[in-house]
């Protein structure tokens, strides 16, 4: 049996070898002259044609990411006999400094010897002309005019837009080389990375006849590239600039959203940095400066800055108390200025030294009474508290879609158990005023306060307004995805919103003055997040004298107009002190810009569904 099977197999082997030999005979003997011709001239070389990358614009058509023609001088190392001599020769034609040469060597190390390596980009017109004239004597040198990414507004909205940079060897292993043939840049962060495939377009190619020196003589055929699509953001660049300027020299994050559509109107992480530096590879010195900057500009605070929420978390606990039936809006608690757990000697203080007396929920939110929320926390228990925070999206990534988002942290007993530790009752108490391990991000806070304003309706924050086909100019509008709504009756939201209005309009309110002369109704909540762990009372006294880095973070959340909200704002200002002062001022500026024009109510911007209201995109050559 075995013998016959082996014989059959060997017979098959012979047949297959004959087929192979016949095929090779066909290639090598029958078609010899054809392939020999191709090989001898080795004349036909496919060359990729780079597509034009799509633009990124703000909702009104202001360009945030543009393409700009640059001349660059490329070298193909494998086609150069003496690299050193070549560089000396080129040094007479264009200016080459030691940094250029270092960068060139670094890039060369990352690429294959037969790849084009940029020696210098951004040649002046004169330099390009000098090289072009001498090109015939420069084997392995290519002069390229190409479009390169340029961010005309510099660091504005870089937290959302991101940037492109050169494709490196890691990328090469992870991209489809065919799709990226001849493409030198890839979206690295933000929208540039998230919509890389949309912005890229499709590479075209031409079959080029090449002479013995490797120069193109004639184009034989051409498949044109397809330009990438343009992306309109929901961000309003002017409002973005307003927010960035308002934060000034402070570090922090500001996120503004339209609660009714989920559109992200501003997305600020301060300080910003210039994305243009990254496009052609940032120099080591500049990168080091950014990395070692004590304010960490490269951290995207809007979605990866995890902060103590401080008292801005109180409205969510108030909602939890009402919805779970553990407390009624009318319930009054006595605030003597301190609180002590039964059977414990530890005293928890209220930020107001003398206490606030009898307070109900309205007063407690308005004046941010700590004792009221200590007591509420004890009533609710940490597990109910965190469950309601979860309904609002805390502890989870919002899914805004750009990379680097952090989930924050909603700690409870289960979380502690996972770390083999116990949850102590005192931790529940301080959690009631937003302290302890609880962490939130600005985008989470904006999304959550939007949910309050909409009585529980929630969206995944949406950065993109529309995607435009640059040829047909047709717009594809992007709609925000709905998150599961907060399962809380509307009247409970209304109770809490009343308290948040009092924060702004009542003389006792912690953000009183913010709403002065506003022709629309604001609701908000202040917060102060501890940076240094210390006694509440001491801190209140010493705040003004503290060095900046020891001051507390200011947190603020607000929305307007109450009842028909079109803007919700979350502000975190690192070491900004008390949230009611600067955070509220920033929020007011954004609301005025968005809701008013010349002090009068502004015609609301069209919702993304109606194409008619959208301004035509700028003409581009």
């Amino acid at each position: 049996m075995f013998g016959s099977r082996l014989s059959i197999a060997m017979g098959l082997v012979l047949v297959l070898c004959v087929i192979l030999l016949v095929r090779l005979f066909d290639l090598q003997i029958m078609h010899y002259s054809y392939y020999s011709m191709l090989s001898r001239q080795n004349s036909i070389n496919p060359m990729p044609i780079q597509p034009v990358r799509g633009l990124i614009l703000d909702r009104n058509g202001i360009v945030l990411a543009d393409n700009f023609p640059v001349f660059s001088l490329d070298v193909i190392p494998s086609h150069v006999k003496n690299l050193h001599a070549l560089i000396v020769k080129l040094g007479h034609l264009i200016s080459l400094n030691s940094q250029d040469l270092r960068d060139f060597k670094r890039r060369m190390g990352q690429l294959h010897p037969y790849d084009r390596v940029v020696l210098r980009s951004h040649l002046t017109t004169e330099e390009a002309a000098r090289v072009a004239v001498n090109l015939i004597h420069l084997d392995g040198v290519q002069l390229h005019a190409r479009l390169e990414r340029y961010y005309p507004l510099g660091g504005l909205a870089v937290a959302a837009v991101g940037y492109v940079s050169r494709i490196n060897s890691w990328d090469e292993a992870h991209i489809n080389r065919i799709k990226y043939a001849g493409v030198q840049h890839i979206g690295r962060l933000g929208i540039e990375a998230r919509y890389q495939n949309v912005l890229l377009g499709r590479v075209g190619f031409k079959q080029v006849e090449i002479n013995a020196h490797g120069r193109a003589v004639r184009v034989l055929s051409r498949t044109p590239p397809v330009a990438g699509k343009n992306i309109y953001l929901n961000i309003d660049a002017k409002m973005q600039a307003l927010a960035e300027q308002a934060l000034g020299t402070f570090a922090g994050g500001v996120v503004a959203m339209d609660p009714q559509t989920g559109a992200v109107l501003t997305f600020v992480s301060m300080p910003t940095y210039d994305p243009n530096e990254f496009v052609d590879g940032i120099s080591e010195r500049n990168y080091k400066a950014l990395r070692d900057n004590p304010l960490h500009p490269l951290v995207n605070r809007a979605l990866a800055g995890e902060y103590d929420p401080g008292s801005t978390i109180k409205p969510y606990y108030a909602i939890a108390g009402l919805a779970s039936g553990k407390i009624s809006a009318k319930h009054r608690a006595w605030c003597p200025g301190w609180f002590r757990l039964p059977g414990s000697r530890h005293v928890f203080h209220c930020w107001k030294r003398g206490g606030m007396g009898l307070v109900d929920m309205h007063d407690a939110i308005e004046q941010s009474c700590d004792v009221y929320f200590y007591k509420l926390a004890v009533k609710l228990g940490i597990n109910t508290m965190t469950r309601y925070l979860g309904y609002f999206g805390f502890g989870h990534k919002t899914g805004i879609g750009i990379s680097g988002e952090l989930p924050g942290l909603v700690p409870n007993e289960a979380w502690r158990r996972a770390h083999h530790l116990h949850w102590y009752p005192g931790e529940t108490v301080v959690a009631g005023i937003g302290q302890g391990p609880l962490l939130i991000t600005p985008v989470q806070l904006a999304d959550a306060v939007s949910a309050i304003s909409m009585y529980g309706k929630r969206f995944v924050p949406n950065l993109v307004y529309a995607i435009e086909n640059p040829v047909t100019k047709t717009m594809h509008y992007v709609h925000a995805t709905l998150d599961p709504p907060v399962p809380v009756p509307k009247r409970d939201f209304k109770t809490v919103i009343k308290g948040m209005e009092a924060v702004v309009y009542n003389p006792q309110g912690t953000a009183f003055g913010m709403g002065a002369k506003a022709p629309y109704k604001i609701a908000g909540k202040t917060g102060t997040a501890q940076v240094m762990r210390q006694n509440t009372l001491q801190r209140a006294e010493r705040e003004r004298d503290l060095p900046l880095q020891d001051r507390d973070d200011a947190v603020f959340e607000a929305f307007a107009p109450v009842g028909d909200p079109t803007i919700a704002v979350a502000v975190v200002e690192e070491h900004g002190g008390h949230g009611g002062e600067i955070g509220a001022a920033i929020a007011r500026k954004l609301m005025d810009y968005y809701l008013l024009k010349d002090g009068r109510p502004r015609v609301p911007l069209p919702p993304p569904k109606t194409a008619g209201g959208h301004p035509p995109p700028p003409e581009r050559g």
């Binding site: 099977r5 197999a9 012979l14 070898c17 192979l20 290639l27 090598q28 494998s78 010897p113």
Partner: protein, 357 residues
């Protein structure tokens, strides 16, 4: 002198000729790169040592190792999916300090060994229960390798298992059913393929549709082969490789360089040399005295064929581009060792026959 050693002289000489040819081509394809050639010869010397070493081991001992080797290989495949090193978008490598190797290389030997061991314990020709167990032994590692993803190797390993089953006398009806179900599985497989894998199959039929990507390999490979003509351009005169038109010219596409430099007659000689090695392997299998030895020797011999045939066909544009080296010619580390280990086992089977036979 050599008689004292367990050895097969004709096979040994054929392998030496093949390896020396390989070194010459690697030298040429690498752009007259001596360092690369030296590294390759180190691999080869290591491989030959492994072969001679294994040839001294009795086949019964090898048979005893088979299931253990298979289990170890299988565990490594699991480990590679969990903790393997990613290279070129696939997770194929396991690293131990500075060493890196592909567990799928071990499986290339362990699978036929395991099947031969398992099938030799029962009566032949095989019946349904044995067939089902064997099917599982083949499919489990193959599926793990598909996951890496490395479709080419998975297919070759599955084919290896099938060949052993075929030699074990699997019924023709079963073969037809398997062929039919494989044909039926193709659309399913297609749906689960990675984009780049589909692309390769598509480009096989339309290389001109993708002149920059995989089609580029195929086109440049065919130019190299075709321009070799009857006699070739001569050693060190492959323009395709020297002018960097041909990617992977010293590894998977080395056959293109060979064909360009030595022409159709050179190819004929090379295939004849391969066929001679196959003939020796088949002879060893015929003469083997127990079922394990027969199945293993036959299986390994046919696998050797499969490898050079798939590689050559891929360069000649008959099969899609899969990452399979040309045995003993391509530059390569681990693959040389596994290959030579296989020949070591063949020699062991050959030289440990009892004199009575």
């Amino acid at each position: 002198m050599l008689e004292r050693w367990h050895f097969d002289r004709p096979l040994f000489y054929a392998l030496v000729i093949l390896s020396v040819t390989g070194l010459a081509i690697v030298y040429s394809a690498g752009g007259d790169n001596l360092n690369m050639t030296i590294r390759d010869s180190v691999h080869l010397i290591l491989g030959f040592s492994v072969m001679i070493g294994l040839a001294q081991v009795r086949p019964t001992t090898i048979a005893r190792w088979s299931p253990y080797l298979f289990v170890v290989g299988f565990l490594m495949l699991i480990a590679v999916l969990g903790a393997g090193t990613v290279s070129n978008g696939a997770r194929r490598w396991l690293g131990f300090g500075p060493l890196r190797f592909q567990p799928s290389e071990i499986m290339k030997l362990a699978l036929p060994m395991m099947l031969a061991w398992y099938l030799s314990r029962g009566p032949l020709p095989i019946k349904l229960p044995q067939l089902l167990v064997s099917g599982a032994v083949i499919l489990l590692p193959a599926l793990m390798i598909i996951k890496e993803p490395d479709l080419g190797t998975a297919f070759l390993i599955a084919a290896t298992g099938f060949l052993v089953l075929f030699l074990a006398g699997m019924g023709w009806r079963t073969i037809i059913v398997m062929a039919a179900s494989t044909a039926a599985a193709i659309p399913v497989l297609w749906a689960h393929m990675h984009q780049y894998q589909r692309q390769r199959v598509y480009v096989l039929f339309h290389p001109e549709s993708d002149p920059l990507g995989i089609g580029y390999h195929t086109i440049q490979g065919m130019i190299a082969v075709g321009s070799g003509g009857l006699l070739g351009k001569g050693w060190l005169h492959s323009t395709q490789a020297h002018l960097d038109f041909l990617p992977q010219s010293s590894t998977d596409f080395i056959f293109a360089v060979f064909s360009e430099e030595f022409g159709w007659l050179g190819v004929l000689a090379l295939i004849t040399l391969y066929l001679f090695i196959l003939y020796r392997g088949a002879l060893i299998a015929y003469r083997a005295q127990d079922t394990y030895s027969r199945l293993l020797a036959g299986g390994l011999t046919l696998v050797f064929f499969l490898y050079f045939f798939v590689n050559m066909s891929m360069v000649a544009g008959l099969l899609p581009v899969v990452g399979v080296p040309l045995p003993l010619i391509s530059y390569g580390g681990t693959s040389v060792i596994t290959l030579m280990a296989a020949f070591g086992m063949l020699m062991s089977i050959h030289s440990h026959r009892s004199i009575a036979a």
